[in-house]
Amino acid sequence: MPERQPAEMVTITIDGAAVEVPAGEMIIKSAEDSGTYIPRFCYHPRMKPVGMCRMCLVEVETPRGRILTTACNMPAAEEMIVDTQSEVVQKAQEGILEFLLINHPLDCPVCDKGGECPLQDQTVAYGPGESRFVEEKRHYEKPIPLSDLVLMDRERCILCARCTRFSEEVSGDPLIEFVGRGYSTQVITFPDEPFASYFSGNTVEICPVGALTAKPYRFKARPWDLDAIESVSMVDSSGASVSIETSQNEVVRINGIDNDKTNHGWLSDKDRFIFQAIHSDERLMTPMIRNEAGVLHAATWGEALDLVADQLGSVRGDEVASIGGANSTNEEAFALSKFLRTVVVTPHVDAQVGDSLRPELLVGLSNRAEIDDIDLADTILLWAGDLKEEFPSLYLRVRHAVTELGAKLIVVHPRRAGLDDVATLTVRYRPGDGGEVLRKLASNDEKYAAARNLLSEGKVTAIVGLPGRTEDAALPEAVAAYANSLPGAKILPLARRGNVFGALDMGLAPTLLPGRVHVGNAAGRAELESHWGPLPADAGRDTNGILAGLVSGELKALLMVGADPVRDGRDPREARRALSSADFVVSFDMFLNDSNQYASVILPVDGFAETEGSVTNVEGRVQKVNRIVPGPGQSRALWSILDELSVRMGGQLGAGNAAAIAKEIATVAPAYRSFNWDRIEWGPERDGVVMPDGDGVQPLQYEPSDPGLKAAGGRLTLHFGRVLYDGGTRIAHSPSLAALAPDPAVHLHPRDASALALSDGQIVDVVGDEASLHLPLRIDATMAEGAAYIPANLDSTWVFGATQVVSIANAGGGE
């Protein structure tokens, strides 16, 4: 556990009762923690106080008599005496509410906030009960769009600055601001600059009135009709806690939950609005079998499972492979792992889709960081993908550590990254030159002396991952090895898929057995065999090896579990070759995709909000996910499909329900000995529990390496980095988000553009080894020289796949 300095405690008196509170803590929080609620609008525990709404006025005894002051910015000091309910305070509270209401439209019956509105609630509790205002109210045009997602009703706004503070202080993209003053003050965007923030939905959630509303929820439900359940967002692996809210069996809203260990209550708009895909008309409703003519038709579960059992049973176990499982729960992943290793009997199991890091690095690191280590670091080394695009929750945590806690930040990236504006130091490099940069950083090279100094002062937390898809996985591993050599350093290796860390922990990796036991660990394997019976002795193939094996014919059959290797893997052409070479492909999925068009059988599975279980985040923290709606049509939980399949294949999975699987995980997976649902669902550990390293962890050796990606002959190395809003299945089926994917472009450093005689905005031909694209050119001074940046995961760009170097020329060909 990361340690924190305990605060000095002082004794203060609140309404006559003595309470012990940390010195300097704001009275509003001290009072709340000791059971006295002081009403408020602008105060938010995750932001700096502004004392604007004046609702939290209290009286404090001072040597100069009683003073009336706001509790949100009054720090607790020894022997302070606070009165939250004096006559003066009550009169002031009534007065503030009257002032807030005189210009409020009181359109509560048609306001989405009605029923969960702090202004309503506090008016009931502290308000004057009648209005003395007979003048004309302030009028504004009713809601105006601030962005594609968020609308602003300025008549309802009480000008508390929660939204503007959030976007300035927390998310760092202050696209909304107060304009005007006094009675004419309003919150608005800048001309021609929409509130296009990845985090805009948070402002809607923290708005204490119905001024800010988000399109996906507007007029969808009344708060008193909502059912809600706590869960964890599976958009990425950061483990953001969410509340899933439904009306009439339909998810209508996701809100953030303040998990002190992960998201602090904030969500990216992708986490918040991607629920729309759950109820997409495109969801698979029944099992599908492809007929002789290659056409899919609906089948019964019996027909489909018979066919799958028959096909998988007709080949040797080790001719079967499985890709995917990183979007499933731990229980589902465990069932899959057990099914593959004991029923099918194959070692060729990989939850990652060929674009990620070695599983031993991801889950077997002895100095593995918790997310809280970001807060405790003196210096943060960030050499990974752009967190703002790939890990928005971690982006906010690093931003917070730098801007509020004073950490130093070094960002190493091929171009501008989301945190550059708060970085102490940025290092740019051309993809392929990372090994050289690392060697110079680790040696005495003058160029990186400043970075080395920062890394030698105090605690370092290194966040490592693949900066882009053209980078070799050896680079982040070498960076981790370097960071490991710094005294006291903690390392947070990144992999992005929702529950990829849980899947690896459950043994969905070619080299790992459940509970972080390496397949080469004879004692560990023997222990598992005592529960499961004989297991394949060797390490299996990873996804790239599986695809190669299918092409060569060494492998015959493939399971794809929530995986789309064509779209999502390292090389779309190789994936297509592999899938069309396979004798049999079965896909467990929620949607049709580019890969399961090659599947003989497609089985509909339950997804987020439809399954109960647990997930494990990037730091190894296990949290509970919950089911609040049924899956559509005949879709089923993955574990139950596998259970039935195992029976048909003459095996026995014994997965009676997800809770039973959870118990088996604790029994057979060493790192998960202390895991049980009750522990993370109820009581003090609801923020989740980090699974300890356990006895299965192998000491890992790293060799810094140089992938040597070079571009010759005037060509440019490709930086193929991800963006948040992509062309992926779930975004495509979330109407509010689908339109937000950026238009593709190729970015070049000005000197490279001028060497090629290209100008900003013109359409260019980008030619790789196997694909080419027409793209507009963006001249981007933040680029490393000699590199071209193309967003990797857009609908039109993913076809570049394994391309590493490109040439770029004027599309007209006119020179």
Binding site: R54, V88, F99, R132, R181, G182, Y183
Partner: protein, 432 residues
């Protein structure tokens, strides 16, 4: 009445060109700076200012020497001269900026030396283009002479001065709003603590002093703090510039020693009421100040404490005199309208309450008042300034909201019958 004209003598001697550096230096200007930089320690300068016991001339009348003592040791530190003179009725700093900018600059140099400041800012209200131009020209002239810049007079002391023009907001006269404005932020008062002397401009220790306060510094150092303290009254010393306006025979800026009575200031200095009408009421210290009336206040002394005991303040030195023909409800409405217009909008009571007050007064003035409006006005005031006491309590961050309360409590206290008459007028049938 014998006293030196500390601030305005040069303007009287050189009515056409007192703002030019040659005229200033010809009259001994910058000699004090030379004396300080060549022979005094910062501690000696601070000691003189403390012994002068000069109260700040911006409005709050806080002793400047004591304020200087609060300056935290962190580096760098800043001196900011508050020339955002925007209080209705106040125009004294304008004269100092326009007519004797070098006196101010010399004061800035001496003060900066004393405070360990190497960069000072002179913030001038946006509606003062001519004073700003004069100060800018004076700063340039001082640079050209080597009075500003690097290693002034070989003393090793460096000082840069930046002149900054506001954007047209009264609230930027509040010192922390002024600092926000200087930093390019919205002009909104900051939560205190921290106070500027600890965390001010760019979060560094900062002293904010009024133009008139700093303009007094050369004389104080030249003549000694005790000489300054000997002028005026024991609880408010020195001379002070008052901006006399309204129904007076001789309106304008006057420099007088502290401690006159209001009768002397209005009738002797201001020449009495125009057309020899009766004095009805006056605002003793800028639009924020509760009004005085002749029945009670003519013999009150013009000092900080005497005026405070009588329930008002000297504020920015603006004396607005109203004669018997004045509609006090209209006067109060005009002042409240000003504060409503100038509210920054941060605090709910000020943002919403001041405009509500303005609207009710407007109805009263236009024959649509209700009997309940009298109590309503007072209760809204009470919700902005609980207890309606003096000095005011506040439900707001800064005193702008409570400032709008002063004219209303003033008319309710002294002219309730006239307010009632407005209500009665409205109650009469239109046909009568």
């Amino acid at each position: 009445m014998s006293f030196p004209l500390i601030l305005t003598q040069r303007m009287i001697d050189h009515p056409a060109d007192s703002h030019l550096i040659d005229v200033y230096e010809g009259a001994g200007g910058y000699d004090v700076m030379r004396k300080v930089l060549s022979g005094m320690t910062p501690e000696q300068v601070v000691a003189e200012v403390k012994s002068a016991n000069i109260q700040g001339r911006g409005g709050a009348a806080f002793p400047a020497g004591i304020k200087w003592g609060f300056l935290a040791p962190a580096e760098p530190r800043y001196l900011v001269v508050n020339g955002d003179e925007s209080e209705p009725g106040t125009f004294k700093d304008r004269q100092l900026l326009e007519r004797d900018p070098h006196q101010l600059i010399e004061g800035v140099i001496i003060s900066s030396f004393a405070l360990g400041v190497n960069h000072a800012f002179i913030y001038i209200r946006g509606e003062y283009p001519k004073p700003a131009r004069r100060v800018q020209q004076a700063v340039e002239a001082a640079y050209a002479k080597g009075h500003l810049g690097h290693n002034i007079m070989g003393s090793g002391f460096d000082l840069d001065v930046t002149v900054h023009l506001g954007g047209g907001a009264y609230i930027c006269g509040e010192e922390t709003a002024l600092l926000n404005s200087l930093e390019g932020l919205r002009g909104e008062p900051r939560l205190k603590p921290p106070f500027p002397a600890v965390e001010g401009l760019y979060a560094k220790p900062t002293i904010v002093n009024n133009v008139e306060t700093i303009s007094n510094i050369p004389w104080i150092i030249d003549n000694g703090g005790e000489a300054f303290a000997a002028i005026g009254d024991e609880n408010s010393v020195g001379t002070r510039l008052f901006s006399l306006s309204g129904h007076l025979k001789k309106p304008g800026n006057v420099e007088v020693p502290m401690g006159l009575t209001w009768r002397e200031l209005i009738y002797d200095i201001g020449g009495g009421i125009r057309d020899d009408r009766e004095l009805k009421t006056w605002v003793p210290g800028g639009a924020s100040a509760p009004w005085f009336v002749p029945e009670h206040h003519l013999d009150v002394k013009v000092t900080k404490d005497d005026v405070a005991h009588a329930g008002s303040m000297l504020g920015s030195g603006a004396v607005i005199v109203m004669d018997e023909t004045t509609n006090v409800v209209a006067a109060a409405h005009r002042i409240v309208k000003f504060f409503a217009h100038e509210s920054c909008g941060q605090c709910t009571p000020c943002r919403e309450g001041t405009t509500w007050l303005e609207n009710i007064l407007w109805r009263l003035l236009n024959g649509a008042g209700r009997q309940s409006d009298i109590e309503l006005l007072l209760d809204i005031c009470d919700n902005i300034s609980p207890g309606l006491a003096w000095p005011p309590k506040m439900t707001t961050i800064c005193p702008l909201g409570p400032s709008a309360v002063s004219p209303i409590t003033s008319i309710m206290t002294h002219f309730r019958d006239e307010v009632q008459a407005m209500v009665d007028l409205a109650a009469e049938p239109a046909s009568a």
